[in-house]
């Protein structure tokens, strides 16, 4: 079933994905990994400077909030 995404809605990506920062960069992006280890470039402009290990709530490729 293509629409049965487990962690987020693949139709609109409109569900938060908890991710951890793997590596911060200086262009407003950070390489982040989800629980399963899948990596993604995430825009971190809205949560301030991040460092590896930080927890982020990611929506459609942008971090909206910090999580523990």
């Amino acid at each position: 079933m293509s629409c049965a995404a487990d962690t987020h809605c693949i139709t609109c990506s409109d569900e938060g994905l908890p991710m951890r920062v793997v590596a911060a960069r200086d262009d407003g992006l950070a390489l982040c990994a989800d629980e399963a280890g899948a990596e993604l470039d995430v825009m971190v402009d809205l949560v301030g400077p991040v460092t590896p290990g930080d927890g982020l709530l990611v929506h459609a490729g942008v971090a909206l909030a910090r999580i523990a």
Partner: protein, 371 residues
């Protein structure tokens, strides 16, 4: 994983379910709307509704952004996708949402270059890699995905990327809630508020619900125990005669939201006078278009967008489902003519759509037995 495992603990769930049973007043019916499609998905995936007493009913609200897209906007997107030289990008199953004359997937089969992306940033990368093509991003979503679109457009502007534009179908959550509350055929006792929209807008925009309509609101997280606790908190307010906005999801949602996100939304978008919602009709100041400062990136100004208006199929009752007037399986075509494989209505397309959630997790069978 912290903040995941402990919110899926079955023993704690049973304790909470027991407290809910002990809280409700026998003989009183409680109808609570979960606004967000993510909540609907969690409720049916984990069987949260199975743990509730029979007199507590969860009603599924209009919070799936794909489900509320009118067919005409899909047709407009398809028209742009067919323009020679265009690479049309959109989120996953948005490609399967039916317009009046097919889907974006059909357009792809007919030769249009339609590509799936996870985020608008992917669409911008495609624009960078294809400077001789026009790349269009079909933007959908509430205040959760709009910041992603806004930040991407800021990047495009800063980098001077000229072959990228955005077909904005972003919407805001408060106007449809007000429209629902004004609807004469709706009877609700309280709301479970959208957790992640609230990370952006904060809790205050929902204060009109208790203030103007006398209904409690509890902003909720997305794990099964979050939902159970939020139902419990709404019920406590109702039983105690209280009526306020409470924040169950305080571990993520600050009272004031995310000011940086609100600032970027303010910069990149402005409210449309009206926007059409599937099943709900036109709602004032509920849609976002690009602001004057970003008009060069507005697909609707760069291309000739037909502005198609299409009436919803007569057999489809997405509107009633979105208003909580009927439950998904009560729709005439649910599970027969309308399935996730061949959806008629948008509620059956998205995994957050109430109909698809029912269908995928088999709850309709139990409901039919009950009724």
């Amino acid at each position: 994983m912290k903040y995941v495992d402990e919110y899926r603990d079955a023993d704690l769930g049973r304790v909470l379910a027991g407290e809910i049973v002990a809280t409700v007043e026998p003989g009183r019916e409680y109808k609570i709307m979960e606004v967000c499609g993510g909540h609907t998905h969690t409720i049916y995936k984990y069987g949260v509704d199975d743990l509730l007493p029979a007199n507590v009913e969860l009603v599924h609200g209009p919070g799936c952004p794909v489900c509320v897209i009118p067919m005409g906007r899909v047709d407009d997107g398809i028209a742009v996708a067919h323009v020679p030289g265009v690479i049309f990008t959109c989120f996953g199953d948005m490609m399967r949402v039916p317009g009046g004359a097919g889907t974006l997937l059909d357009a792809k089969a007919q030769g249009a270059d339609v590509r799936m992306v996870y985020s608008p940033l992917d669409a911008l990368r495609i624009a960078r890699e294809n400077p001789d093509r026009e790349v269009v991003f079909f933007a959908v979503g509430f205040e959760t995905t709009a910041p992603s679109t806004a930040l991407t457009l800021k990047r495009a502007k800063a980098e001077g990327i000229r072959n990228f534009s955005c077909f904005s179908n972003h919407v805001t959550i408060v106007p449809p809630l007000r429209a629902l509350l004004e609807s004469p055929d709706l009877r609700l006792d309280g709301f479970i508020g959208p957790g992640h929209v609230s990370t952006v807008v904060g809790a205050r925009p929902f204060e009109f619900i208790p203030a103007d309509y006398g209904k409690p609101v509890v902003i909720s997280g997305f794990e099964p125990l979050d939902l159970l606790q939020s139902v419990y908190m709404v019920l406590c307010q109702l039983v105690e005669g209280r009526c306020e906005v409470e924040n169950q999801y305080a571990r993520v949602v600050p009272a004031d939201g995310n000011p940086a996100a609100l600032a970027v939304l303010e910069e990149v978008f402005e409210l449309r006078p009206h926007f059409e919602w599937r099943g709900l009709g036109f709602i004032s100041h509920s849609g976002l278009k690009l602001s004057e400062a970003y008009r060069d990136f507005d697909t609707e100004l760069r291309f000739e967008v037909p502005g198609v208006r299409v009436a919803d199929p007569k057999a489809c009752q997405c509107g009633e489902v979105l208003k909580g007037v009927i439950r998904p399986w009560e729709c005439k075509v649910f599970g027969t003519a309308c399935t996730p494989e061949r959806p008629i209505g948008t509620c059956m397309v998205s995994s957050e759509g109430a109909c698809a959630a029912y269908y995928n997790y088999g709850r309709f069978a139990r409901e039919r037995e009950v009724v």
